[in-house]
Structure formats: C-alpha cells, structure tokens
C-alpha cells in the first residue's frame, strides 16, 4: 500500500511540473461538485483536449449530456457571460440517438442560442470543422462528436487539435462512442455512464445523474469515479448521494405525495 501511495504522490509531483508548461492551465473551470473539485485541485484546464467516452452505445445520450455540461462550465469565463459553443455532430448520430432537440438543451440550463450546430457527413469534415473552430478564441468550447471509431481521428489529428486549442484557449471536448482506449493526446479521459437518479416525488425520474470515471489524468487521478448529478438551475454538478435524502417509494401513477423540498414539481392530474 505504501508503495502505491508513493507512486501516486510522485505522479502528482510530475503532473505539477508538467502543468507549469501548459499555458492553458492558467485558466481552469470547475465541475461545481465539492467532492470532485476538491480532488481535481483547481478543476480542469481550459484550452486543452478532454475526452468523454460513453461506457456503452446506449450511454451516448448520457455522455453527450455530460460533455455538454462540461462545455457549459468551460464556456462561462467571466461572470455569467457564456461564450458560444460549437457542436460538430456527424449525421449518422441522428439515426442512432435522434436529432438534437432545443427544449432539451434548454432543460439542461443552456441557452440554445449559445450553440452553433455544425452537421457533417464524415469524420474528415468533422475534424476540419473542429480544427477551424479550435483557432477561434471567441468560442467557449468545441464539442466534437464523430460516429464510431474513425481512423481519421488518430494521434496526429488529436495532437493537432490539442495544439490549436492550446494557442487559442478554446476547450475541446471529444465525444467517443467506444470504451476502447484510442490513441490520443487528451489531457483527461472520462468514461460516463448514467446512474439511477434520485427520484422526485411520486417516483418521477430526478436530475440526471452520472458515474464519471477518469480513465486518464495527468495529475494521477486515473481510476477515480465520481457520482455526480447535474443541476440545471445552478448550472453546475453536485455530488450525488442517492440515499442522503428520504425517499418514500411511491408506486408510480399515484397522485403526488407531499414533495419533500421539491417545490418545482407540479402535481399532475390523474387523467382517465
């Protein structure tokens, strides 16, 4: 055990040395969840490439939601002045997971007008569009969502993206649909899967909850998993503790019981 602790301490020292050479590291963004932010020290750096992996094909919506939340956190640089987010999405994804829906984006706490959506046919176009966007410092974040495991997105391509992102300070978020590790120069690699949410009154699904595992982290935090919940009102993550609040299991379909602290839940009429 002592050896392992030594190794991870050494890694942190090395990461500290490395971080000094990262100009992007001067600016960071936090997740908003006290537990995760405490361990990530000063949050995640802007102007670098982060990767978000879906744990399985069916987890793409969760991974997209998590990445969009990260993009939102990264794009708010000054007090409440969110910069535009460019979302590059390959057409194939529309048939796999459905087309993006503006009210759903708004439901996550983003202003849909903040997003510029670029639809591309293939991974080459996606890379080129993302490469152009990475040179535009006025953007808050770029979300690159290719389909499958494109060959074009190799080590060289990701390095090019990362270099451009470093120059401009734009945070790049690469969404991958596979849990297989691909060659890349990403600073962090997250694997995301959804968690059963803390239900609201009457057993309604609650705020989106994720289990985010750091598969790669230069600061030596790889392997760590955080359970996070996204709060669309404060536009931040919070630590997810599903059992910390009293949950009365109410069979779904019954009228709403007295909601404990959830005044935003509107009782619905039992129709029929």
């Amino acid at each position: 055990m002592a050896v392992e602790q030594d190794v991870s301490a050494l890694r942190r020292v090395l990461a500290g040395l490395e971080a000094e050479h990262l100009p992007g590291a001067s600016s960071t963004f936090t997740l908003g969840a006290a537990g995760a932010d405490g361990q990530l020290a000063d949050g995640l750096p802007r102007g670098v490439l982060h990767e978000v992996h879906a744990a399985a094909g069916a987890d793409i919506p969760a991974a997209s939601g998590f990445a969009l939340a990260l993009a939102l956190r990264a794009s708010v640089r000054h007090a409440n002045m969110a910069q535009p987010i460019l979302w590059v999405r390959q057409d194939m994804l529309d048939s796999e997971t459905g087309a993006l829906h503006a009210p759903g984006v708004a439901g996550l706490g983003l202003d849909p007008a903040q997003i510029i959506l670029v639809r591309v046919r293939d991974a080459e176009q996606a890379l080129r569009a993302a490469g152009d966007a990475a040179r535009c410092p006025a953007l808050g974040a770029v979300l690159l969502e290719p389909w499958g495991e494109p060959k074009a997105l190799d080590l060289t391509a990701t390095r090019r993206l990362a270099l451009r992102a470093r120059e401009s300070g734009v945070t790049m978020l690469l969404l991958r649909m596979t849990d297989r590790p691909m060659a890349s120069v990403a600073l962090t690699r997250w694997q995301v899967r959804p968690l059963v949410s803390a239900p609201l009154a009457a057993g309604a699904p609650g705020a989106p909850a994720f289990a985010a595992t750091l598969l790669r982290h230069r600061g030596g935090l790889q392997g760590r998993t955080w359970k996070l919940e996204w709060d669309h009102e404060s536009r931040s993550f919070r630590d997810f503790a599903p059992l910390s609040r009293a949950v009365v299991p109410v069979p779904s379909g019954r009228t709403v019981a007295q909601g404990g602290g959830h005044t935003d839940v509107r009782p619905f009429r039992r129709a029929g």
């Binding site: 969760a62 849909p112 959506l117």
Partner: protein
C-alpha cells in the same frame, strides 16, 4: 390531322429547297427522299438557349428569354462600353457566330419593336425614335397576336402594322381588345416596357475582361484577388457591405460557372472574402474548369446592406462576435448553408413542431418565450418516433417494462402522463392524443415514451412509441 409528324424546324439549305416548318414529315420525305431528320427535342433547345443567355450576361446583366428561340437584352447604359450600339451588335453577332450559331439581332428603343424587327424585319440598328417608320411595313403577325385576331384584321384588309397605326384606336380596341392597342403602342415605340431579367440584378459589379483568355490557376487567382479589391473599395465608398456575393467565370467557349457565397453579416473585407471564395472553390464537387480559358471574370454583390466603417472597440466584445461570424461564414462556404445551424424554438405544444433549426447565416428568429418552468424535454428526439412494445397498466399507467431495439428495459422511475393533443388547427380530425411518460430504467438510462391513443375513448388500440432520450 392529329398524330401526324410535322417538321418543326429546318436548316437553311432545306429552306432553300422549299421545306418549311409545319409541313408533315411524309410530305417532306416525298419531296426530298434522302431527307435527314432528327427528333425535335424542346428540352435540349431550351437548355441551349439558357446557355446562350448565360453567355449573354457578359454584355448586360439584364437578359430575358423571349419564347423558345429568342433573347431580349436590355442594353440601356451598356452600349458605350462596347463602342456604341452598332459596334456592340456587331461584336455580339461575331461572338455568337463564332460558336456556330445563326442569329438576327436588332437594336431598337423598346423590346417589342426589337422583337418584331428581329423576327420579321431585316435586322440592324434602329435610330432613336424611328421605330414607328421601321416597323410600319411589317406584317401584323409581328405583333404576336392570337390567330383569330390576325385572321380578323387580315379580312378587314389591314395587312401591315402601318395600316393599323393609321387607324383610330377606339374601334380597333372595341373589336379586338385593349391588348392589340397596347402591343401596337409598344411596337411603335410610343410606350416603353422593362423586361424581366432572368437573374437578380446585382447591386454592385466589378469585372475584368481579358483580350487573351486566361487559364492558369495563378492568373485566375491573381485576377480574382484584384477584383475583390475593386469591389471592396466600391463597397467602402458606398458605406455598404455585401451579404450575398456571386463570382461568374465566363469561359471563352460560352460556358459560365457561377459561385455563390453568403455571409452572416454585411462584409467587405477583401481578406475574408478571398478566404470564403477559396473555401467554396476547394469544396466544389466538380472543380472550376478553365477549359480554353476565361475571358471575363465578374464579381457581383447580389444583396447589399449598409455597413458603417467600424471602430475596433476596446473591450473586445465586438471583435469576438466578428470572429464567430467569420468562422460561421467559413464553415457555411465549405459545408453549405443547411449544415451550420442554430436552434430555433416555436411557440407550440406539439413537441415535433416546438423546435427546429435555422441556418446560422439567416437573420435570428423573433425571440420565442421559453416555456417556464422548463418542461422535461429530451435532449435528443427521434423523427419519426420508434415503435416499441410496452407493458403498462390500463388505461393510463406508465409502462412497467418495454422493449426497444430488441433490448428489454425495466422501468424503475416514471413520470406522467403528460397529455398532448394534436393541434386541431394543424392536423386532420381524428389524430389520436398522445400521453407522454418520462421513464428511467434500472441502469439509469432515461427515455421519453408515449402512448398514441386513449383506451376506449379513441378508436383503435393504443400503440407505444419511444420519442426521445434524456442524458
């Protein structure tokens, strides 16, 4: 008479030996046994005329088609660029004859006079104000009247336009309609009428002509760069910027290639314009082919908007907006207008109509009030919804389990129903009501399901669909 094959057009040689359009093919064959016949192809004729019309854009931007075999060019204010009307006519004739075409060209004060003279007269240039004298000897069919009117006028002994012009107008109008008088006035040059050009009239044009066609890529790029500079300074002098630009490359052999770019905001910056055109040219599926070279390159602004000279602001806010607009323009030039989008929300409770996309270069839509509090709507939505098998309590309980894409999902949390009826002013009568449920399965994946139709109250058995996915 029906079903007979007729001659629709004849070559000059055939005309010389007595064949004429309208003759039946059998008669023509009887006269000339070794007649060479080709099927009449109106579509190909129309395409050729369009191509010639494209080529004629080099003389004036105002070109209109006239019937299946004619073109009208409005050369008001253009003739002096080509050495006067007679010189321009001669040059145009030489140019088109060089492509193997036969033509009759007339320059006259009104389109109708020119048309009548070209089709029924000798051709040439009609001096200003002398249209009436020139068209007087033409037959009345030159007016383009209906067959009945022509027959009626001929029976009355009125054979030429001059005869008609000498008569008082009122009885003619009473017998043949006001249309006759209008045509007569226009043909005589008493009344002018504007033609309807095929293309949008550009707001601003810069062009270069080359005595010797240029074909090398470097030359074309160099010339194009100079054109952009010209146009930019023109726009600056006007205090305007362009939103839609068109570059037209006129090839020496008559083919014309047009490249269109659009910008998100009025622009006149030569560097960014050059970059946008380069993006567009790189993205062309069939590249610009100089063939035997271009002899004219024209750059036009099709849509102009005021653009005051901007002072770069110190806070950097305006600069940031400019940078994003530049990026959008570049992506639009490369990927197309319908691929760089912004979200748009409509005031509708039908989830399929509530949201859509708008090109990022389009003007922003009127702000739509956000539904408050935010209704639970999925991040991604399927169009059309996917049919699923679901097990649910009758009549309106949430699904307990459902099968989608061959995978069985156990529902642990559910919310609903949110009942959404079809918008009666949009849809047909009898469209079933939808009961939406937000459900979560045992793995935490969240779905938006609906049941189409109500038990007992609406006809047909209700069916279940999956409409969207939540993060």
């Amino acid at each position: 008479m029906k079903g007979a094959q007729r001659v629709s057009a004849v070559s000059p040689r055939a005309q010389a030996i007595g064949l004429a359009p309208g003759l039946t093919l059998a008669d023509a064959r009887a006269r000339i046994p070794d007649l060479v016949v080709a099927d009449h192809d109106p579509a190909a004729d129309a395409a050729l005329l369009e191509r010639i019309a494209d080529d004629c854009d080099r003389w004036t931007p105002l070109v209109a088609l006239d019937g299946p075999d004619g073109l009208v060019l409005d050369i008001t204010g253009c003739a002096h660029l080509f050495g006067g009307e007679a010189m321009m006519r001669a040059r145009l004739a030489t140019h088109l004859q060089g492509h193997g075409l036969t033509l009759r060209a007339v320059v006259a004060g009104t389109p109708d006079a020119a048309r009548a003279l070209a089709r029924f007269g000798k051709g040439g240039v009609v001096p200003c104000g002398r249209e009436a004298d020139h068209v007087a000897p033409l037959p009345i069919s030159a007016l383009g009247l209906s067959r009945e009117s022509v027959t009626g006028l001929s029976r009355a002994g009125l054979k030429t336009i001059g005869d008609l012009a000498a008569r008082p107008g009122t009885p003619l109008a009473a017998r043949f309609g006001e249309d006759l008088l209008t045509r007569l006035r226009r043909t005589l040059g008493h009344e002018d009428v504007r033609i309807v050009p095929r293309r949008i009239l550009p707001a601003c044009i810069a062009e270069r002509r080359f005595a010797e066609p240029i074909g090398r890529a470097e030359d074309v790029q160099g010339a194009f760069g100079l054109l952009i500079d010209d146009l930019s300074s023109m726009l600056e002098a006007r205090g305007a910027g362009g939103r839609v630009f068109e570059a037209a490359f006129f090839r020496a052999d008559g083919a014309v290639r047009r490249i269109l770019i659009e910008t998100a905001r009025p622009s006149r910056d030569p560097l960014s314009l050059a970059r946008l055109f380069r993006e567009k040219l790189d993205a062309l599926s069939d590249p610009l082919d100089p063939g035997f070279g271009f002899d004219l390159i024209r750059l036009a602004v099709l849509r102009l908007e005021p653009l005051a000279p901007a002072q770069v602001s110190l806070d950097g806010r305006a600069v940031a907006e400019e940078e994003v607009a530049d990026l959008v323009d570049r992506l639009v030039a490369r990927l197309g207008r319908d691929r760089v989008l912004r979200f748009m929300m409509r005031d509708s409770h039908d989830p399929e109509r509530a949201a859509g996309f708008l090109s990022a270069t389009a003007p922003p839509p009127p702000a739509c009030p956000m539904p408050a509090p935010p209704l639970a709507r999925p991040l991604m939505m399927f169009d059309p919804p996917h049919p699923i098998e679901a097990l649910a309590e009758v009549p309106d309980g949430p699904p307990l389990r459902f099968r989608w894409r061959r995978v069985l999902h156990e529902v642990v949390h559910a919310e609903g129903p949110e009942r959404i009826a079809a918008e009666w002013w949009q849809s047909e009568k009898g469209t079933p009501t939808r009961d939406y449920y937000r459900v979560e399965n045992h793995q935490g994946r969240r779905f938006w399901l609906f049941r189409l139709g109500l038990y007992d109250r609406e006809p047909g058995p209700p069916a279940w669909f999956l409409h969207g996915l939540f993060p």
